[in-house]
Symmetry: C2
Subunit: 462 residues, 2 copies
């Protein structure tokens, strides 16, 4: 049923101007900027960019496009990694960056409602006097709308979950311009199909998310972080498994391989041991944090983990996590002029050591420059391939390597993407992963977007 999208014409531009006035651009620079994300994928600029400031405006824009069967591509902060914002069939990009209002904070209920363009850091700044915070931290300064649309997570999902667990309700503009609210603010509900979860991770292909109600958490009384080096990756991962099994509610537990540690040392002027290393963070009361740290230190010591380096003062912790957050940029800096390509498999934790070990062996046989960094408490790790974007053979080799990595993860009952999403970069892997279930996804896509105008060419082929 592949529906051919229609082109943008003057009539549509006029209709869009009636909705957003002067907040519309067809300039090459603005279009270029909105057709690319932070990945290696080839940019695809939209035909026109509109800057929406309300749900009503988004509904007006979508209606104007729907009437003419023109594609609609939502744009948050442009930090996605699988070509989610690429206008593969042209069309109208809706920049939601101007929807940057924190609509409501309910401290008693520990929730907040934000417009889609609010960023994670902006929300936490807004919350600073409430004693509450929003924990999900994908590293990039992403928008909450984009994080919702890609089912993002990051370093502390092991404790606080992903966007899947932390979105309570959404306002969504559907493909025909209707506006729905997917849920009330109650913490749980058994009222009908879980539309909230259907739209979380739908990458703009079923509707445009314009408002998000999120769970918040109390800022822990005490926070403590630590770094510990291990003889092998397997020892580090076994430490993770035992930690999770022991029930320690660790807030973050991140693995960096030797090459990644060398890159971080170079980039951030640090002198960590060049060895497989775990970064930990513990949240709780003073007593609970001390107890957690004690338990984990004992587990690590049993597996050759040495020189637990503690960071309890905020500035020490910030330095430690800055090094972790900069890991991607540190890797890319290994080869000036090159771009990063972050793979994203996630496997059951019992298979993690095996998956990383086999992947490391595969890397050693390949000519690729790469580091490994992972949210290992969840079984999720990224190989950061550092690629010359002009070297087609290198790109082909990276594709082959990534294909082998994904198939290895799927054979271990894992997923091709733990947190980056499918976009147009992983559509074939989605079929390999889900089989017949992709048919159900396609049925849902066709039912909710019969003219295939919502971010077409992403997730499923219709």
């Amino acid at each position: 049923m592949a529906v051919e999208p229609a082109p943008v014409n003057d009539d549509l531009i006029e209709a869009l101007r009636a909705v957003v006035g002067p907040r519309l651009s067809t300039s090459a620079a603005v279009r270029e900027q909105h057709g690319r994300d932070e990945s290696y994928h080839t940019p695809h600029p939209p035909d026109v960019v509109v800057f929406a400031e309300s749900t009503g405006e988004v509904a007006g824009i979508v209606k104007a496009c729907a009437r003419r069967r023109v594609p609609v591509i939502p744009f948050g902060a442009g930090t996605s990694l699988e070509g989610h914002v690429a206008a593969l069939h042209g069309g109208v990009c809706i920049d939601l960056g101007g929807m940057d209002r924190v609509v409501a904070v309910n401290p008693e209920d520990m929730d907040a409602t934000v417009q889609a363009g609010v960023t994670r850091a902006q929300l936490n700044t807004h919350l600073r006097d409430t004693g509450l915070f929003f924990p999900i931290d994908p590293g990039a300064e992403a928008s909450i709308g984009g994080m919702t649309a890609t089912r993002a997570s990051g370093t502390n999902a092991v404790r606080y979950g992903t966007m899947r667990e932390n979105v309570l309700a959404l306002i969504v503009v559907l493909a025909d311009g209707r506006v729905i609210r997917t849920s009330r603010r109650a913490r749980k509900s058994a009222a009908g199909y879980d539309l909230t979860r259907l739209f979380v991770g739908s990458e703009g292909t079923l509707g445009v998310i314009t408002e998000i109600t999120l769970r918040l958490y109390g800022i822990p009384e005490a926070v403590s972080a630590a770094v510990c080096a291990f003889p092998t990756v397997a020892d580090a991962v076994d430490t993770v498994i035992l930690t999770i099994q022991s029930g320690v509610p660790v807030a973050r537990i991140e693995l960096l391989d030797s090459r990644q540690m060398a890159a971080v040392n170079g980039y951030s002027k640090l002198d960590y041991a060049v060895a497989p290393t775990l970064f930990f963070e513990f949240h709780g009361t003073e007593r609970a944090v001390a107890e957690q740290a004690e338990t984990v230190q004992a587990i690590a010591a049993g597996l050759g983990g040495e020189n637990f380096a503690w960071a309890t003062r905020p500035e020490e912790r910030d330095k430690l996590w800055k090094a972790r957050h900069d890991a991607y940029y540190a890797s890319v800096a290994l080869r000036p002029g090159c771009r990063g390509w972050a793979t994203d498999v996630c496997v059951p934790i019992s298979r993690l050591a095996e998956c990383i070990t086999e992947t490391t062996a595969d890397l050693e046989k390949s000519p690729l420059t790469a580091t490994i960094v992972g949210h290992v408490g969840d079984g999720n790790f990224h190989v950061v391939l550092v690629i010359d974007p002009d070297d087609t053979e290198e790109i082909a080799e990276a594709e082959r390597f990534n294909g082998r990595l994904v198939m290895r993860a799927l054979a271990m009952d894992g997923t091709c993407t733990g947190e980056h999403g499918i976009g147009h970069g992983k559509m074939d892997f989605l079929v390999a992963e889900h089989g017949e279930a992709v048919g159900v996804m396609r049925t849902i896509k066709r039912a909710l977007d019969p003219d295939n105008i919502m971010n077409p060419g992403k997730i499923v082929r219709v």
Copy 2:
């Protein structure tokens, strides 16, 4: 598009026998038993009951029904409360009780895969030597398949979440007999639409869930429970709010009102104070549990909570929670010969005291016999109305009371059902709650079940 379902005929019976052999019944007693749940709703027996023992058999049964447009109603343990198993349009009931195998336990990954007919207690018995347990406890001895289909929760959702958060993957037989697996075993994934969450809570209307992969948790090193009486319901609820806000990871926190406490004393031969009462449970290390209990006791004392009665030994705790679990039966026993009608609203916790207080005032003006018991950490509470099933005026009064209660909860941004589901008992309330979003649910239902054979007449009208 209301599709008229077809009747069961000899040709279908023959086709079903080809799948399940002698495991098929058309006897009145078996049909009666499969047309009723534990609620006040009028039973609707199916035309035939088949007892499936594998996903393949379920697929064969559904295919035979689909070819003839005959309704399919899945049946677990029959403990639902909104008429979910009623064969409103006749058809074939698939009893999944014989699918009672624990398929796999992965202790390292802290997950297990079970067939739909496995019960919660059966799974925990199976797990007893692993140090792990499955926490969701709806009170009734429900099947895991039924708990999944209704998005159940119960007393410890405040700590461990609901079925929404604890199902990792499903095997589902679709309306045309195709079999899908909704997800891999990885803890998180951003791969496509969240079909797992779409089927959790779909009440058999989109497909038959035959296998479920669940998260498990380590059995806590220490468990401690306590009972505490308060001057007013508001004081008790304020204690709950402060406890949640203080970040204490309380495992259970249940409210019983004065009438419920009187009923429990009478039924379970106990001598608790007849006052609004909280039941608590704490899980963790010895030190953590002591610290949590200390914090909560201090909060309660500040709000007039008196005589914290501790139960640390397993047999004391069992007695305490047996009293709580029997609350429903204790209420029903207040009027011999009567049936229970459990309402199920859930509101943001900031509105909980107000909602319960207004509801209590409403009850006092009505002639109804009722108690209140609630999973107050989630904002969810049940008014248990004790109804003479032969008194039509009393039933009408209960309906009016429940209608006022639901509208009160919706006005407070709550839901008509925290954990029981919609069934055919709350379809109008679903529309009141979700508005336009019910149209999206209907679109999904029509797309995935175009002939309306999957548990027709539940959740949405097609």
